[in-house]
Symmetry: C2
Amino acid sequence: MTALHHRRPEESDHIRVVEAIPVWWGMPPEAAPSRLLPRLFFQHFADTSILVEDDGGQLAAFLIGFRSASRPHTAYIHFVGVAPGLQRRGVARDLYERFFAMMRERGCTRVDAITGPINRPSQSFHRALGFALGGDTEIEGVLAYLDYDGPGEHRVTFSRSL
Amino acid sequence: MTALHHRRPEESDHIRVVEAIPVWWGMPPEAAPSRLLPRLFFQHFADTSILVEDDGGQLAAFLIGFRSASRPHTAYIHFVGVAPGLQRRGVARDLYERFFAMMRERGCTRVDAITGPINRPSQSFHRALGFALGGDTEIEGVLAYLDYDGPGEHRVTFSRSL
């Protein structure tokens, strides 16, 4: 396995990450969730995000997260991706642990994230990392919050102490 | 004209704002830019955002903005809307001035925003408020940055001293 190099993303990394999303997710660009990741996250939340490259400088993984401004004891993980060839090797777990450590240092006591009801791998991953799953309505076979992110945008919530 | 009441948005206001967007923008929900406004902004950036209601408690306008975490002297205006019946009365200008004052108090010296090349009213509005417009490629008749927010997502940038 190639060595992985972690650093803060820069604004100029935005396009690489956005272009990786449909490839890594195996979706046509218009169906991929790229619009959830506008450039603003690379401008304004770079200091709490992590970009991972392999020895050849290729994008290997990323975690985009921030500390809540309104709820300063809460950290939020917005978007995480790992290149398909590097999955199931603990890369995402390592990214989460790095983020947890960074957020504990800043005084956060809780970390939140969300996913869609159909994203079972994400639900299993977060459960294994000690997140409590939240939802109040059975949607596609799991408990989720109906219309959480707008009409038709149902979500399972994740929350964990730090 | 009804009196307008300004306050910080709460998480429970998210659905009202998301449902107003297609109506105010005159677009079908699936074409409206509602996905640019996930619930996270109402959870984590409520303290620097403004929601406006009329005397009857109806949603009149909103401004969603935040202070950059990575660039703490920069404020960012993410999304602004005014109900069609209240436009051209200075409601948006007043929201911007309230946001500018709030951000100056926090030590910001610059405020940024963006729009699409076809959004001429937004470009005129920001120019009138003293923003400098940015772009390096002529797109739909104005200077904009090609693929700024991802492939096909061209943007005109706005920047202004505070």
